[in-house]
């Protein structure tokens, strides 16, 4: 490489010295994010595994306990989260086209929808505490299911809690992206941070796509 070319290389904003081009760097960062998401699949996967075993053992208790969840709030939250995935996808689209203002609007919309989701979730948690459906000494439920319904609610709080923690982290990531969009770090050529933050956000959405039917919708009939 001539000194001239080396100089040009260091002039490209956002390009690390060990990559030849932004395309190569972008492919590497996307792949790296996906490898991280694979570990996340197995992280959540363990909980889905436990859920599958216990539900196959105690189907009636799980159906009865699931019936206590608020399906309306659950459905609203599903709609809110999928809509936030749309605004996230549109944010990435705006970043690709270098539309800084549109990008910022969609990032704020994504954060707002994430906030609405967490707000509704905390209302649901509040109801569960008020109804004594939190596993522990104060747990109250129909006598025949009282032991096994606690397993359902333990899984409910662990899975939705871990998911909510991911939402909070995602909210923080979006705040940083908003800052970077505002100060001009994100450009038409260098939008990888938005792209991989989007991958994270969509992944969290996918986890909820599975949690919603498995937690809220079993045993809706016949109880």
């Amino acid at each position: 490489m001539s000194p001239d070319a080396a100089h040009q290389h260091s002039d490209v904003p956002g390009l690390a010295h060990h990559f030849n081009s932004l395309e190569a760097q972008s492919e590497a960062t996307t792949l790296g994010m996906w490898v991280f998401l694979v570990t996340e699949v197995l992280f959540f996967g363990g909980l889905f595994m436990v859920y599958t075993v216990y539900r196959s053992w105690y189907p009636d208790a799980f159906a009865a306990a699931s019936h206590e969840l608020d399906v309306t709030l659950g459905t609203i939250n599903t709609v809110v989260l999928i809509t936030s995935s749309l605004t996230m996808a549109l944010a990435v689209h705006a970043a690709q086209l270098g539309q800084r203002r549109t990008l910022m609007i969609f990032l704020v919309a994504t954060m707002l929808l994430g906030g609405v989701f967490l707000g509704i979730k905390s209302v649901e948690y509040y109801h569960k505490f008020a109804e004594h459906h939190v596993p522990g000494p104060g747990f109250q439920f129909e006598k025949e299911y009282v032991r096994h319904a606690q397993i359902f609610f333990s899984l409910y709080f662990m899975m939705t809690g871990l998911h909510a923690l991911h939402m909070v982290i995602g909210f923080g990531i979006m705040a940083v992206m908003l800052w970077w969009a505002w100060n001009g770090t994100i450009t038409k050529d260098y939008y990888s941070p938005i792209e991989i933050s989007g991958l994270y956000w969509h992944f969290v959405d996918i986890v909820w796509i599975f949690l919603f039917p498995l937690l809220y919708l079993i045993g809706r009939h016949g109880h």
Binding site: L42, V71, L90, H202
Partner: protein, 97 residues
């Protein structure tokens, strides 16, 4: 960067399908279909997740290596489920032996 930029229409279409699927999965849950309830719920969830992965997460337009990594996560999760359940679901069989 020479990325594949999708028209916005694609995102709106996928969003519409995801909403339709959400409506369907809630409606189906209120009918007693026996085992089909679980199959329908999980099947619709897999369809929704696949659409999000292919279009919102751009895997359809990504290098094959990315698609292989995605498929790998599903495959490994499959091993976890299949091997564990082949144990738990067959434990009652010892009563016949």
């Amino acid at each position: 960067m020479s990325a594949h930029i999708l028209p916005r229409r694609v995102y709106y279409t996928i969003f519409g399908i995801l909403m339709l699927c959400t409506y369907l999965t809630v409606q189906i849950a209120f009918f007693d279909l026996g085992r089909l309830n679980t199959i329908a719920a999980v099947g619709i969830a897999i369809l929704k997740a696949t659409l999000v992965i292919l279009y919102f997460m751009h895997v359809k337009y990504s290098p094959r290596l990315t698609a292989a990594v995605v498929a790998g996560s599903v495959f490994w999760f499959g091993i976890l489920i299949v091997l564990t359940m082949s144990d738990y679901l067959t434990r009652a069989w010892r009563t016949f032996g």
